[in-house]
């Protein structure tokens, strides 16, 4: 009996110690999420954008975030829309940010604000599309003209014989007048004009109307298209759904953008001919590194081209 009690006491003391350690750890693990870890020594960046919901933005901001963490800096995102660009710029000037990454659908129209920033001692780089007339320090992005040319080339390869090409422009090409939009379309046109059997018949923007509706409209057109170039992965998924619903799969070849799982799946199932992959993440990453180097006074190239890739069945290992 004595030994049983002693064993019981020992077991309880052991259980108490273990339980105490577990509970203590739980108490300590119940630490709150750190809201921010800012300090005066860290660089403070502002990302100003008019698009915070697209696939391109998600990838871009992912790249920014990774680079910011690596450089132990902080950043904040200002969305132009509810607040005017002017107000946003004034705020970043008052709050004395160290650098601004400007990512608008048409950076060229923000030249004046870019110059205000520079006047306020804030370094600024543009991404996605350039503002060549401004005092921006660096432009980082893909060459949209070449991108357009490549898209058109892929469209030619997709269909034999005469080709009627349609284009649905996504989040990056909201502004019809932006340099990026113009360069992309001009790139396509360059190839189209050089091929007699090629015709660019439709250009549509998905920023105001959903891609499904645009696709429905396209299908109702008198002169049906053979190939559709789509610049947004989200739009691609929507378009494919319409084609499946309308039993038009194979009638219209699709040249997509992006490397999402759905797009890869579409390529595997031959719903998509090819996909052009702009490395938005790399753009976000490089924008932070270049801005950091500019702030530190290092000499950097004022134009940084980020190359794009092509996803096809052959490089997915299917063929």
């Amino acid at each position: 009996m004595k030994y049983i009690i002693q064993a019981l006491e020992f077991a309880i003391v052991t259980a108490l110690i273990i339980l105490s350690i577990i509970t203590f750890n739980k108490i300590n693990q119940a630490a709150l999420f750190e809201k921010e870890t800012f300090s005066e020594e860290k660089y403070h960046y502002a990302v100003i954008t008019d698009d915070i919901s697209s696939y391109a933005y998600e990838r871009f901001i992912g790249g920014v975030d990774a680079a910011i963490k690596e450089l132990d800096s902080v950043y904040e995102v200002y969305e132009v829309g509810d607040d005017s660009l002017e107000d946003v710029i004034e705020m970043v000037v008052i709050t004395q940010v160290d650098g601004v990454i400007l990512r608008l659908s048409n950076n060229a129209i923000a030249s004046e604000e870019i110059d205000k920033c520079k006047a306020g001692g804030i370094d600024i780089i543009t991404v996605g599309n350039d503002a060549p007339d401004s005092l921006r320090d660096v432009y980082i992005g893909t060459n949209k003209y070449n991108l357009g040319r490549h898209a058109a080339t892929l469209a030619i390869k997709a269909v034999d014989g005469p080709k009627n090409i349609g284009v649905i422009l996504g989040s990056e090409y909201i502004d019809e007048e932006s340099i990026a939009t113009n360069n992309f379309i001009n790139g396509i046109q360059d190839i189209v004009t050089k091929n007699d059997n090629l015709n660019l018949s439709i250009i549509k923007y998905s920023n105001s109307i959903r891609a499904e509706l645009l696709m429905d409209d396209i299908l109702k057109e008198d002169s049906p298209i053979n190939v559709l170039i789509c610049t947004d992965p989200v739009d691609v998924n929507r378009i494919i759904r319409v084609l499946v619903d309308r039993n038009k799969v194979g009638d219209i070849k699709i040249v997509a953008s992006g490397d999402t799982a759905e797009i890869k799946d579409g390529i595997e199932k031959r719903l998509i001919t090819a996909s052009i992959v702009e490395d938005y993440e790399e753009i976000g990453n490089m924008s932070v590194y270049f801005l950091n180097r500019v702030i530190q006074g290092e000499g950097v190239s004022t134009y940084v081209n980020v190359p794009f890739e092509t996803l096809e069945q052959r490089n997915l290992g299917i063929e």
Binding site: K2, I5, Q6, L8, E9, I12, V13, A15, L16, L19, S20, I22, T23, F24, K26, I27, Q29, A30, A31, L32, F33, E34, K35, E36, T37, F38, S39, E40, H44, V74, E76, D83, D87, E90, M91, I94, T95, Q96
Partner: protein, 501 residues
């Protein structure tokens, strides 16, 4: 100091109680501190979640009051409004400093730093508006005031962004805290429950430790009271007082046991002494009786002895040689007979006396009986009580041939054995019936002793007792017999030394 040392370093009951209370107290104190720590930590984290929100809310209210008073001053130059404006200005300036201060709790919050900077710009704009107002520059103060309102809207925007972000984080934190707190609470409940169980076990162990040795000693005390002195000694490392009690108890028990043992030995010795005394008294009584009988018988022998001497002298005078010899033998026999029974005689003396007795009996009975004597030369000097053989011969003569007409032969033989000397008196008489023989061998001579008249008066019982007392041994004399064939008395004298068996 000494008492403290005793308390700390000696395994005393006091220390045991002290340690027990301390352990229980520590258990519950630990549980309490633990619970307090958990509650404190969670409470602190909950407070932290809302500290910023409370501060920003206060700042917004101050900004509203600030703007109202500034507007009033700008509109009417009201000095009260200006005083109020200054008050709020100071309050907001302090807040801005507190926010931007690198040591403040907001120094790690980018959004709070932005708000601090915007607040400074906001206050600067108000100063500009006041300056322009004083300089009567209407456009200037209106522009500054408009700028102030714009910055105010920026601050609102930042506050709203911050609160939105904070709410998101706080919500996550709240969820974590709620989940963790439930687990922690469960853990604490289990800890408290285990502490209670442990305390109960401690109390049980403690009470067993304290009362255990006392209970064991009580049981052993009961055993001692019942006369059981042999018990297993309690072992184990108890507290000092219990050990002292135990050792003292065992010492006491041991002393009692020794005392009782001594008492028992004493009683046994006394009993033995008493038995010995009784035996001695019995012996003395027998001797006295024998001596009394001898004295009684000495009256005649002395008279006869003197008379016989006179007869011997008369026979010599008258040349009656045979009668003279007879009377001389008779006289010698009487002389031997009247000696004290406490004397020691040699076996040869006993044989000599027996032969004299035979000589007398020959005169009386003629050829009817014949005695054969065979004495080993080695045992002639053996000492023994007197008058042993004669009563046995008398007994054989009287009882052995009472109803027998044939000539009787009585053989008296003594020889050495490995353990001593054996004397055998064998007659070819009528024998002794079996039940009488058994009685004789058991030492029951009552019937035999009662018979008298023709003998010395010393019965078999007397002979038997004297032999036993002399040699301090039992079974010295045994009887063998076969009806109509023989009766043999065997006396085994144990060897004592060279002369005495």
């Amino acid at each position: 100091m000494k008492r403290l040392k005793n308390l700390l370093f000696h395994n005393t009951l006091k220390r045991k109680v002290f340690t027990f209370m301390l352990v229980i107290l520590l258990c519950f104190l630990t549980g309490f501190v633990y619970t307090f720590y958990a509650t404190f930590k969670v409470n602190k984290q909950i407070n932290e979640m809302f500290t910023t929100s409370i501060m920003l809310n206060e700042m917004n209210e101050e900004m509203d009051q600030f703007e109202t008073n500034l507007e009033a001053y700008l509109a009417s130059k009201n000095s009260d409004s200006f005083v109020q404006y200054l008050n709020y200005y100071n309050l907001l300036a302090d807040r801005a400093s507190a926010i931007i201060d690198t040591d403040s709790i907001y120094s790690s919050s980018l959004q709070m730093q932005n708000i601090g900077k915007l607040l400074n710009a906001y206050l600067d704009a108000s100063e500009n508006a006041i300056e322009y107002k004083r300089g009567r520059n209407t456009e200037g103060y209106l522009a500054s005031y408009t700028n102030l309102l714009k910055i105010s809207s920026y601050i609102d925007l930042k506050v709203s962004n911050l609160e939105r972000m904070d709410f998101k984080v706080n919500l996550q934190n709240y969820m974590i805290l709620t989940e963790k707190f439930d687990e922690i609470q469960l853990g604490l409940v289990v800890i408290v429950a285990l502490l209670i169980v442990l305390s109960i076990l401690f109390v049980f162990t403690f009470s067993t430790n304290v009362t255990g040795p006392i209970e064991a000693l009580s049981k052993q005390a009961e055993d001692i009271a019942k006369g059981k002195y042999h018990f297993e000694r309690e072992k184990g490392n108890h507290f000092k007082e219990a050990e002292l009690l135990r050792d003292t108890f065992y010492d006491m028990a041991s002393h009692i046991q020794e005392y009782i043992s001594e008492l028992r030995d004493k009683v046994e010795t006394e009993n033995k002494l008493r038995v010995s005394e009784t035996e001695k008294l019995k012996m003395q009584n027998s001797l006295n009786q024998a001596e009394l009988m001898a004295l009684q018988s000495q009256i005649n022998p002395h008279f006869l002895f003197n008379t016989l001497n006179a007869g011997v002298q008369l026979a010599i005078i008258e040349d009656a040689e045979r009668t003279g010899n007879f009377l001389e033998v008779l006289s010698t026999l009487f002389r031997y007979n009247i000696q004290s029974l406490q004397n020691k005689v040699k076996l040869s003396d006993e044989f000599s006396n027996a032969k004299k007795y035979y000589a007398l009996m020959q005169v009386r009975f003629g050829e009817q009986f014949s005695f054969i004597f065979d004495l080993d030369e080695q045992v002639t000097d053996i000492e023994m009580p007197p008058l042993i053989l004669q009563p046995l011969l008398e007994n054989a003569l009287i009882h052995g041939f009472k109803n027998k007409t044939e000539a009787g032969v009585i053989e008296v033989k003594a020889y050495a054995t490995t353990n001593g000397v054996k004397i055998e008196i064998t007659d070819n008489g009528e024998g002794i019936p079996f039940h009488d023989l058994e009685k004789l061998n058991r030492g029951d001579f009552r019937k035999m002793s009662e018979r008298g008249g023709h003998t010395t008066g010393l019965g078999l019982g007397n002979v038997y007792d004297r032999l036993n007392h002399f040699f301090e041994a039992e079974g010295i004399m045994i009887f063998e017999s076969k009806i109509n064939e023989f009766t043999r008395v065997i006396i085994s004298l144990p060897r004592k030394d060279d002369t005495t068996c």
